[in-house]
Symmetry: C2
Subunit: 456 residues, 2 copies
């Protein structure tokens, strides 16, 4: 049902000319994300400032019309799919870096700035913003904040929750507000900043963010270790994380993934039971010691080969397997189910072992790789036909149950969105979910912000 003509007139007043789109082509273009779910919005708007977002939410609240914030739609959980219609708010035109302030180690940005563009702008100042999802070149900072998206570097530098100082936003009530600080410390009232981060657009729309910057380490070194089997590699991960030198990346790739990558990437990709990519960064003089420390921990029962890159070319060669992985998976299954479960690092051996068993029991091809230093594995189910797709869904439920039994949780960095909310009661008690519903109500009393997401 299209929004009432009255509301449409009002939206036209807020969003002149091409800042409002109601044509079918545009609506289709904003109907889906990387989850491959889709649902048509009634309209798409392209704000260029905070005041427009306030006016939009106030108008939509009057008409009880859903409002769905959207960065660049690279998320994998359907978090930006307008399942109940309404207005999609694309922040792609609010893409200015408002301030880079190296003296205070902060940057102020609009939500539509691309993560990769931000990193490029920060580099000349000697700083970076740690969150680094693999979609960094084309995903937005606002989306990163909404989903608490991270990437390999989180093992050392944390996620958006550890790297954001403050926000400006518009609550579902239509009220604009600022929260957080411009300082690296603050104890002035409730932490609304972290509450909004990871809330997937269900509490408020972020219109500005003050990001905490980190000095760019001047050097990086890469180590690749292959193992007899996934268990041996998982045990090495636990050893690496139990010693004092924290790597800036600690990536795991299982045997199935290596085989796939080898078939597509050629002989530079090793065939092994499992592989770890380990990176350390810091001042150049410190790196020999750091490489030695992580290598010592990487060695142990089941290690097959340990290679240390001595040049940029060697580093690239070592990463070839990881790079070949995503295209390789797509050729097998266009319907891959991409999960990102997380368990305490010492439970990784049990998780990878359990995944092998689930793959066999449900007869579903599963490829596992990811940010092992955080215990965060991308578990990719690759169904090749409809029957396998059905088995994959049953397998998924068992996977989540396994993860919870291992003291883990449903998502490390992708979020819940549409596709995982039915599993939320596995991870959270009725009381915790009830409090989250109360919090939702505190920000969005009429439930207009991104309905149908996150909370079951």
């Amino acid at each position: 049902m299209p929004p009432a003509a009255e509301l449409l007139t009002r939206l036209r007043g807020i969003f002149p000319a091409d800042a409002l789109a109601t044509g079918e082509a545009e609506r289709i273009a904003y109907s889906y994300d990387n989850s491959r779910r889709h649902a048509l919005p009634d309209a798409v708007v392209f704000p260029t400032g905070h005041a427009q977002v306030e006016a939009l939410v106030q108008a939509c609240r009057e008409y009880r019309l859903p409002v769905v914030a959207r960065g660049r739609g690279s998320n994998t959980t359907g978090a930006t799919v307008p399942v109940e219609g309404g207005v999609v708010v694309s922040f792609e035109r609010m893409n200015r870096i408002l301030r880079i302030d190296p003296d205070n180690r902060l940057a102020v940005v609009e939500p539509g700035v691309l993560n990769g563009d931000l990193q490029k702008a920060l580099a000349p100042h000697g700083f970076f913003w740690p969150p680094d999802p693999s979609s960094a070149p084309w995903c937005s900072v606002g989306g990163n904040l909404a989903c608490n998206s991270a990437g390999p570097r989180a093992v050392k530098y944390g996620t958006p929750r550890e790297n954001t100082l403050g926000l400006r936003a518009v609550a579902g009530s239509g009220e604009g507000f600022r929260c957080g600080t411009y300082t690296s410390k603050g104890a002035t009232g409730y932490d609304l900043t972290r509450l909004l981060i990871g809330s997937e657009g269900t509490l408020a729309l972020i219109t500005e963010a003050t990001l905490k910057l980190t000095p760019k380490p001047s050097a990086i070194r890469t180590v690749r270790a292959t193992y007899r089997d996934v268990g041996a590699a998982a045990r090495a991960v636990a050893r690496i994380m139990a010693q004092p030198v924290t790597p800036c990346a600690l990536e795991f790739i299982d045997d199935v993934a290596l085989k796939l990558a080898h078939a597509h990437g050629g002989d530079s990709v090793p065939l092994a039971g499992a592989m770890l990519m380990i990176e350390v960064d810091g001042e150049p003089a410190t790196l020999d010691g750091a490489v030695e420390a992580v290598s010592a921990a990487a060695r142990g029962d089941g290690l097959e080969q340990l290679s240390i890159a001595r040049s940029a070319e060697e580093t690239l060669a070592l990463w070839s397997a990881r790079k070949a992985l995503s295209p390789a998976q797509r050729t097998i299954s266009p319907n891959k189910i991409n999960e990102d479960v997380v368990v305490p690092v010492s439970h990784l051996p049990a998780l990878v072992d359990g995944i092998k068993q689930l793959s066999a029991r449900h007869d579903v091809l599963i490829v596992s790789f990811g940010h092992a230093g955080n215990g965060n594995l991308h578990v990719n189910l690759l169904p090749r036909d409809e029957a396998e797709r059905e088995r994959a869904h049953a397998c998924l439920a068992d996977l989540f149950a396994l993860v919870i039994a291992l003291d883990g949780t449903l998502s490390g960095e992708h979020g819940i969105g549409l596709v995982k909310r039915e599993f939320m009661p596995l991870a959270l008690s009725p009381n915790a979910l009830g409090l989250m519903r109360n919090v939702k109500n505190a920000f969005d009393p009429d439930g207009i912000l991104n309905p149908g997401k996150l909370l079951p």
Copy 2:
């Protein structure tokens, strides 16, 4: 007014024998904290487990009786003073370290564990928990979480919000719940963990915490730099924080504080316009480079002397001024007003300059020192008589206005409590305060948890 006899009977059922105290002596002992405000509670209870806390809050909710959580009462803001009576919940008997798990870099503790006892227990495992308030030997982890208390190390390692993975708690509704994870990454629903941290017992009572541990650096080096005046030192702080080596402590001491400390601590305390204490930590091989980097940044216009400690004795000698400071202040004014404002580091010169002017204009002795690397200064007003005490209060309002004008905030690590809540509208807009009130209502619908605190 004592609680109804009926409720008292019910509390006796929950808290047998000496776990419930209603005698005047005990009530007086739990009527005040380090703010030197006081108000008598109706009763004091000493839970030993989560279930007791649930039963307590449920009972008190029925009778609309206030419930005030208390660690060890070392906070300076009156956050644990039962201004509306009710039951003080002292967590001193819930002081068990439930689990130290070095493989997963976490510890699970009850809230009454003392910060110092936790650090001692972690040391043999090669880990520490970063929050280090100066009261560490006698303050509780639960209190640290409630107030988001930090200390010098926060400049490198963050505050409780960056160092806590999950919590168990009882909301004001009487519902127990768990939030957060046992993993170092999580994107499963709203971040209730960080919301509770810093909420000063107004949303829920924390009964268990899963803390993120950090590997203990194997070595530390101390540098002391004295400056011609506070402005020169403040500019050096901004330079130190703008280069890549982040110190693990960067403490500022102004000229008034140095004079005080010199008078009490003797000639080992330098007399200067201002002083910085700078510490760097890490693997021993990295420290020469780190000391060089921070020393280069510390040098500049106005530097008078830079000393690098070569031994443990020299380190102790360098810290003597800082150590002499607290006893020195007490001898001058038993009524010191201890604030902990925070501004972006590059605004520190303007802040210290502004404080000098306020001290002159209001004719109040002010001593400033603190965690300059975070822009977090302890501004101590030291009124020596009643007249000066009145002038100090007016000065305080001007101080907060100055801090807000400099993009700063009211508190870096002490919190708001009773004494600063009247100033909250300076820092937060009516909309932000309204959302905080909604959040309060979401957790504590009858407003029984720590009434009269934090929100104006």
